[in-house]
């Protein structure tokens, strides 16, 4: 089971998908492409709060991926 966590104004929205389900994986990949296309950065979260890794391509084996909106200076 994979989870895509998208940061938004409600805190976050979680999209779970079954890695064995081809359609669900395809939808997850589509979501990945849409969000990264909008400027979100996808990060595979590390275990126990450790540093994650930047995802440049969709990887269905990643358990938890976090989508962060584009950064801006304040």
């Amino acid at each position: 089971m994979g989870v895509q966590i998208v940061m938004d104004r409600s805190g976050d929205t979680r999209h779970e998908f079954d890695t064995a389900d081809r359609e669900a994986v395809a939808r997850a990949e589509q979501r990945f492409l849409e969000l990264t296309g909008k400027g979100f950065r996808a990060v595979a979260l590390g275990k126990d709060g450790g540093p994650g890794t930047l995802m440049r391509n969709f990887d269905p084996t990643v358990e938890q991926s976090l989508f962060i909106p584009q950064l801006q200076g304040g």
Partner: protein, 240 residues
Amino acid sequence: MAEMEDILRALLRRALSERGGEARTLTGITIDSGWRRFEPRLCAEFSDGYRTSHSLTPSACFAFCERHGVWDIAALRGLLLQDMRRIHAQMLREHRAQRGAGRQTWIAMLIRRLRGRLRRRPGRQLPAIEAVFRRHFLDESGEAWERGLQLLEENLSPEQRRQYDASGYFDVTGGASGKRYRIRQGSSMNVEQLDKRGRRVCTLCFMPAGRLVTGDVMLAQKVALEVFERDALKVANKFY
């Protein structure tokens, strides 16, 4: 049961309300037997030696024992300690959120911040009114706030979590440079670059677009510095 919980909360409220209260961790709990006509007292002990007590009525004690089916003092102490730690963690979170949201009106907080600005020394913590502003003016719901905070806490390392619980900030190591950064409670002007001695070098201001809740902003800052530090520094404004 409710009465026992009230007693535990009263003890913790007292411990938290005093100076250095947030940094204390609960280390033990004892029951002092009553002397003559005085009731027994429940005493909580903390890591810094602080000790506080509250009278324990037999009915509250009996109700607690009956509910949990424990009738020996060691098991009772163990259960009380376990319950008290749970309540302590919850109260710490509430305390932090309350401090962030501020009990004072935003104008009083603004005046305090301006006063602080006048006597600010390098390395001094920036007073934060962002939380108040965001909740009052950006219409952030309490639920969103909680979700953001929960997501942040789920993704802190044990050391960062301990530091955040104790001090309201946590340190992060830059993934590319190995530099140390401190992320304080807040959504802007809340990241500091530290030198080797832990002193502030500069304040960085960057956040994700879209008016996210504070927990999300802090998590995005942590992940950005750990995973794509250079890109984060490119957009960040620096204040020396």
